[in-house]
């Protein structure tokens, strides 16, 4: 789980971004790039090209609109609302991913430079990727926001544009489906 304590966005960074300070933009990007990229990557079934495109779009929108951010909501909530909207817009405009292609992209994520040092660990990570990829998109997005960003339920409700009850329901059902799918994958391997 990502620890947020070391990357709280200061008002100084936001103020500098409002003035067009390129270094401040870069600092902001550095704080969030991997989380935004990871959410997009797993949301789009391991497609690195789309994940990079989504990440770029999110930060360009953020830079373009940062003057409108008034600080009366948390920065991360606003950022992840952008992530959700850009991902859902892109998903609407894409044709369904052929299952074989998606599977191949997910497998390719476990490269030699990953942290997965042994076969069993890589297998386990692949199973989780496939199980996450197979979740309905509403459950998938809620789970990715919770896992990669550790957003609170209130923050997720605002980012996803729904009630906390809906967030709770999506996360509870999503994790249950995930566990069932993983059990099936493991059953097939044995």
């Amino acid at each position: 789980m990502v620890d947020l304590s070391d990357r709280q966005v200061s008002t100084e960074i936001i103020d500098a971004c409002r003035l067009g300070d390129r270094d401040a933009f870069r600092a902001l990007y550095g704080l969030y790039k991997d989380q935004v990229y990871s959410v997009a990557l797993y949301f789009f079934h391991g497609d690195r090209g789309i994940a990079a495109d989504i990440t770029q779009q999110v930060f360009l929108k953020l830079i373009g609109n940062v003057r409108q951010f008034r600080g009366d909501s948390e920065f991360s909530t606003w950022l992840y609302r952008l992530v959700v909207n850009v991902c859902l817009d892109a998903a609407r405009h894409r044709k369904a991913e052929p299952p074989i292609a998606a599977e191949a992209k997910l497998e390719s994520l476990a490269g030699p430079d990953s942290l997965e040092q042994d076969f069993a660990r890589a297998e386990a990570a692949n199973s989780v990727r496939r199980a996450v990829s197979a979740l309905p998109s509403k459950f998938r997005m809620a789970i990715l926001l919770r896992y990669f960003e550790d957003l609170s339920y209130e923050q997720m409700a605002r980012a996803l544009g729904c009630s906390m009850g809906t967030v709770a329901s999506r996360l509870s059902r999503g994790h249950r489906i995930l566990a069932e799918r993983l059990k099936n994958f493991e059953g097939r391997r044995q």
């Binding site: 373009g64 919770r146 729904c162 009630s163 329901s169 059902r173 995930l178």
Partner: protein
Amino acid sequence: MRIFRRHVSDRLAPYIHEARAADQVERHLAKCERCRAEYVQVRAGIEALQRLPLAEAPASIWNSIESVLNAAPAKRSFAPRKIAFAAIAGLMVVGLGYWIVMRSAARWEVDGLGGSPVVGTEHIGRAGRVAAGEWIETDAESRARIQIGDIGSVELAPNTRARVIATRPQDNRIALQHGEIHARISAPPRIFFVDTASATAADLGCEYFLHTDEDGSGLMSVASGWVSFEWNGRESLVPEGASCRTRPRLGPGTPFFEDASDGFKRALDDFDQTSSDAALTAILAKARVRDTLTLWHLLSRVAAGDRGRVYDRIAALTPVPAGVSQEKALKLDPETLRRWKDELAWTW
């Protein structure tokens, strides 16, 4: 005990993540085998995610972002002896740039989606622009979509007439005279507004439909997010899946979920117009847990003597959270009402 009959399937993740409603969930788990099995599954799903690694964003992404940012005109340097000239020229350039930016910012792009919508007095065909102060109108055969800068869009259904009021960064505003719009906004709260004759819809980050007649009778339905429907200090908070009527001289009514029973909705319609005791009695009798959205709003809208009935009904439908006292709720203490709303919103 009602609490043991209601399964806690949808509360398991918040219980594991943040120990939300721990007492209620733990008491239920102790007695319900089905929920215990689901608890094990949810926990297994949460633990499995620990095996999902964070991916590193490629450096090429920032390079692409920088090249877009660099597409802006480069600054020039000037020789010292030309400073005065440069200052004057600079002021002229800045002034011209400001005029161009303001002129362009004051106009929103319009796409004709069928037929031939009219902006001002001109038919725009497939594409056009609309500025603050101008009217845009569709007839029975036409539809149009206005791009609200880069924060979203508003689609005008056939037979709709609206006027652009403001196109400022912090205040984007349309007055809907009659007809229906479909707004999709992705921006910080309260920078996009739609005025009607009897209410103003303030966007809190959302997608919604709003219909109004010229006299101000209308209905707003929220497809995602939240909208605040306001008039003369009266505010209705409308979440996803809920709707709210508005009426001339009365302003926004009490919000309700679309899937509430017909009897509930009829009684609410009656109460919003007549404040009758019979209507309130019917509303309270027919309310479900989710209808606490309506009941929470009614707390501050019924006569002071009736607040206790509304409080008791909400308390019977869902446990009153810690920090919410009956005394303060009946006095309409703002902090108490806010805290209760935040807790009730779990069921909305």
